[in-house]
């Protein structure tokens, strides 16, 4: 062994095992992303159910969990949204300690800019609604915006001058991979089987009840099955024999090369449409809206990237010298009201968590918490009761399009 190799630290232990699937589990979770992991974690922790398999067709947290821009906030307009996203925020605030894993949760504040009079009014309305729901939101003017985020161009010499912003100081970012690993380790320690490279190819039913799944590693029987497969939820539902009000769209994001820390907060702009933060290592992380068309291709059209870069450079003139290092796409599942579905399905023992669209990362702890409750008890938790599939029949939609502080 060379001298250098001797000085290197020991290869760390693996955080989870790679077991072969057993014949049968109390609960099978389809999807080994953040939502599936969090669901298994809360099933074990809150409901004492540990005979669980998480089935992941690719590798752990390699889907949208690896592709999002890691923004966490709870400043949603409607009461139902404020309740579940704020609950999620409160869980985020305790998770590092609870999971005993530092995933760089950084409450650096999230700023949503307003560039038109209408946006000012809508944003202020959202701030008032947030305040009534006990969320730390406030309205800030350009001088304060400049103080909180110096590289922003708050002058009038710009195509869409910044007229003000909403500000949620408790909002921020976290390191997404580490969040997944933290949950995976906790699940593994509680006896959950995390099975990677195991694609579900069929849902086994017996007289209106789901009894298991067919997979590329054979048939696995299950007391209950929970689907947490984001962009591919419609395909799973079709296997089971029902429809979801979901459209799958590509959502792209990008990072620059590493830079000195220059950008201290998270800035989102609905009107020129970009959101930007700077990761701990130093890369600028940017995203915008979904590509317009349905797609499963894990890529999108380049003009989406071009437009969000133009918006970013307009807002942050110093970014003009940065380079795009990498762009990528994920597949997000969008509902007609831009709110998620955490629900029972037409079949007994089959449950679905989907439709988080572009907001799945921030909602991950509350999604897991409420979905675990629904799977364990067969009933919705008060937080996810409004997010049932029934709302597309009753019309009790939770219309967060635009209202949610950024277009979906």
């Amino acid at each position: 062994m060379s001298a250098i190799a001797e000085e290197l630290p020991e290869q760390p232990d693996f955080l989870w095992h790679n077991p072969s699937p057993k014949k049968s589990y109390d609960v099978v979770i389809i999807g080994g992303g953040g939502h599936g992991l969090a669901t298994a974690y809360y099933l074990a922790k809150n409901h004492g159910i540990t005979n669980i398999a998480i089935l992941e067709r690719g590798w752990l947290a390699g889907g949208n969990m690896a592709r999002n821009t890691t923004i966490i906030r709870s400043n949603y307009l409607w009461d139902e949204s404020a309740a579940i996203y704020e609950y999620s925020m409160k869980l985020w605030e305790g998770l590092q300690e609870e999971l005993d894993y530092d995933f760089l949760f950084s409450q650096r504040g999230v700023m949503n800019l307003a560039h038109t009079l209408q946006e000012v009014r809508d944003s202020q309305r959202r701030v008032f609604a947030n305040q009534l729901n006990g969320i730390d939101a406030s309205w800030i003017e350009p001088d304060e915006i400049k103080e909180l985020c110096p590289p922003l161009n708050t002058s009038d010499d710009i195509r869409y001058p910044i007229m003000g912003a909403t500000w949620q100081p408790r909002g921020g970012i976290a390191k997404h991979d580490h969040v997944a690993w933290a949950f995976a380790r906790a699940c593994d320690r509680m006896g959950v089987d995390i099975i990677q490279g195991c694609e579900v190819t069929g849902i086994v039913k017996d007289a209106g009840r789901v009894t298991g799944v067919e997979t590329t590693q054979g048939r696995i029987n299950a007391g209950s099955v929970g689907m947490a497969a984001a962009g591919r939820s419609s395909l799973l539902a079709e296997m089971a024999g029902f429809r979801l009000p979901i459209q799958s769209h590509p959502l792209q994001a990008l990072v620059s090369e590493l830079h000195e820390p220059v950008h201290p907060t998270v800035v989102m702009s609905n009107h020129v449409h970009v959101y930007v933060s700077q990761a701990h290592k130093g890369e600028l992380v940017m995203g915008a809206g979904v590509d317009s068309y349905n797609g499963y291709g894990n890529r999108g059209s380049f003009h989406i990237i071009e437009e969000q870069m133009a918006a970013a450079v307009e807002l942050f003139p110093i970014f003009a010298r940065a380079h795009v290092l990498r762009t990528w796409g994920g597949i997000v599942d969008v509902t007609l009201d831009a709110s998620p579905i955490v629900s029972r399905t037409p079949f007994d023992n089959l449950y679905v968590n989907c439709g988080w669209g572009t907001g799945g990362f921030k909602g991950l702890p509350a999604a897991g918490y409420t979905f675990a409750h629904t799977i364990a008890t067969g009933e919705a938790h008060p937080l996810n009761a409004p997010y049932s599939l029934d709302r597309f029949t009753t019309g009790a939609l939770i219309d967060e399009h635009g209202a949610a502080a950024v277009a979906h």
Partner: protein, 96 residues
């Protein structure tokens, strides 16, 4: 960026177009006759398959006319474009 073959103007860049979602979803003949469930299906449920998808596009920054297309949602490749009102064409070996 997709290159979309408008049946009226020829191939143009994607950012001249607006997406209209699934094609061939007719307005219910008698909406008053529908159950809440069926009305919900009409309003909120659309197919979302992998593979060939019949969908609507509008050439918003060109001739401003709507048309239908068949596109593969995995490769994004357009397999056919055809006018509104025409039936979904049979695709033979990817011809267009």
């Amino acid at each position: 960026m997709l290159l979309i073959d408008c049946p009226y103007c020829g191939p143009r860049n994607e950012n001249e177009f607006t997406y209209g979602g699934q094609a061939h979803v007719p307005y219910p003949e008698d909406p008053y006759d529908l159950t809440d469930e069926a009305w919900g299906q009409y309003l909120f449920y659309r197919d979302n398959q992998q593979g060939e998808y019949a969908e609507r596009w509008a050439h918003a920054a060109g001739c401003r006319r709507w048309f239908n297309a068949i596109r593969d949602t995995r490769t994004y490749k357009f397999l056919a474009v055809y006018p509104m009102g025409a039936g979904r064409p049979e695709l033979a070996g990817g011809t267009r």
